[in-house]
């Protein structure tokens, strides 16, 4: 059973969002890292890139495949987690403890559209 964290919001494409003021901290869920297997590369956007909700912003790669990342919110990228460039496997060891990008939220209502932990668990159980 993949773990979830209460208080985070979740997308159907298996990203998690933690809201800190007007910033969305975005990562991939434990369910996603388990499905990927050993992660060998994380492709991240550049700071100042403008993302719209649902837009592809990068990818997480394992030996066998690349899995696209989709932004759960619209906004401007304010920070990327450089630590993942040299240590992508951190996403396997702690998916919720290692964020990928931080986005300045342009439309807070998009956050409300995302799932809570209970709804996300239901989604994973159906997969």
């Amino acid at each position: 059973m993949a773990k979830t964290i209460e208080g985070l919001r979740y997308s159907e494409s298996h990203e998690w969002v933690k809201v800190e003021g007007n910033i969305a901290v975005i990562g991939i869920t434990d369910f996603a890292q388990k499905a990927m297997g050993a992660i060998s590369y994380v492709d991240m956007p550049d700071v100042d890139d403008e993302l719209s909700c649902g837009e592809e912003f990068g990818a997480v790669e394992s030996v066998k495949a690349a899995s696209d990342l989709y932004s759960p919110v619209s906004g401007v990228v304010v920070e990327v987690n450089e630590e993942l460039c040299d240590a992508p496997e951190l996403l396997n060891s702690d998916a919720f403890g290692n964020w990928i990008i931080k986005v300045e939220i342009s439309d807070p209502s998009e956050v409300e559209e995302l799932m809570d932990a209970a709804a996300y668990i239901e989604l994973c159980n159906k997969a």
Partner: protein, 368 residues
């Protein structure tokens, strides 16, 4: 699950019991990985691993015209081939496109050949062979359902063959030869072949016989390996996969496999004149290796570019497990195929610089 519509090999229950991740491949549901692709890959490179490759197709060609007929449909030259010999090559369409790549075994019985073909092509191959047999005194049989197969691969494969399976005659085989042997009453066909770039063997037998071999090898510590690492291993060794580096629209010359198409030594085979014409006109594209200067991973289908213009496409790519480099093979326009040519690969939104290199990324360790 949707896997119910796919065939199962005789080893299916064993894969499930081992906790393998199962996925459809070539009409069968096959193990992709048991533990991890990386661990299984390294087991084959450093010790020994075994693969259930029972999905592969087996077709026999027998009869007075067998040699002449195999030479008609096969690019390599079987004339004068000794019993127990094996050749790799392709079957081609008249336009030079590839029907399939395959191994041809010259059986010990007279006028008898054993063809091992890709699972996904077995039905098409059988029909193709039969359709071209008119006028030849041969019998063609698709006996894929009767055979199971295990590939035992890695530097310790020979040791397991002699000490655990107690098959000294098989352990003494040289590269690309085979023998028929018996183990505890089971008849086996064993060849010194594989698809990993390492020394190793492929064992063919009845379903029950192959299940027994699997159990013995598993108990003695051979790592069960899935199709995931079979692909990373064959890729590093520069071996083609049908549907990627070879296809109905890719000729052996374009795939860099011209040495297996005996255009000069043989007077006739299907597709020969197309290959001659292609040689004379000069290739317009060819498979090359490309190494990226970045950790980003090129994947099949990604565009290869030069100065922002598309000049080709990746056919297979990985972060190579044995060399820890981001590398791929790609079909590119001829003028970009020279070693050292700078090219770029578009990976999602970014373009990464790379250099054309040899398509064999790992030095193979065959027992020649």
């Amino acid at each position: 699950m949707e896997n119910e519509e796919f065939l199962r090999t005789a080893l299916y229950d064993r894969h499930v019991a081992l906790g393998a991740q199962m996925s459809p491949f070539g009409g069968f549901v096959m193990p992709i990985q048991y533990s991890s692709i990386t661990d299984e890959h390294n087991a084959v490179r450093k010790a020994a691993g075994m693969f259930d490759v029972s999905h592969m197709g087996e077709i026999t060609v027998t009869g007075p015209d067998a040699e002449k007929f195999v030479n008609h449909i096969f690019t390599n030259d079987v004339s004068g081939m000794p019993c127990g010999g094996i050749l790799y090559g392709m079957m081609l369409y008249p336009d030079g496109g590839t029907v399939d790549d395959l191994l041809v075994y010259r059986e010990f019985a007279p006028d008898s050949y054993f063809l091992v073909v890709n699972a996904s092509n077995a039905g098409k191959d059988y029909e193709w062979i039969c359709a071209n047999a008119e006028g030849y005194d041969v019998e063609v049989r698709n006996c894929s359902d009767s055979w199971s197969e295990i590939a035992l691969q890695g530097p310790l494969a020979e040791k397991f063959m002699s000490e655990v399976l107690c098959l000294p005659s098989a352990a003494a085989l040289s590269f690309y030869t085979f023998c028929d042997c018996t183990r505890n009453g089971d008849n086996l066909k064993v060849s010194r072949t594989g698809y990993t770039g390492e020394d190793g063997f492929e064992l063919y037998g009845t379903h029950d016989a192959i299940c027994r071999i699997w159990d013995v090898l598993l108990e003695s510590g051979v790592a069960p390996c899935g199709l995931g690492c079979r692909d990373t291993l064959r890729f590093e060794a520069g071996l083609p996969l049908y549907g990627h580096e070879l296809s109905e629209t890719i000729t052996p010359l374009e795939a860099g496999l011209g040495m297996f198409a005996k255009v000069d030594a043989k007077e006739e085979f299907i597709g020969r004149s197309a290959l001659i014409a292609q040689k004379e006109a000069g290739l317009s594209r060819r498979i090359v290796g490309i190494e990226l200067h970045d950790k980003a991973i090129p994947r099949a289908g990604y565009p290869v570019e030069s100065g922002g213009v598309k000049i080709g496409e990746v056919t297979t790519g990985y972060r190579s497990i044995s060399t820890d480099r981001s590398v791929c093979v790609a079909m590119v326009e001829k003028e970009y195929t020279a070693l050292g040519t700078p090219v770029e690969i578009r990976i999602r939104k970014k373009v990464f610089p790379g250099t054309v290199c040899k398509k064999r990324f790992y030095a193979t360790n065959y027992k020649k």
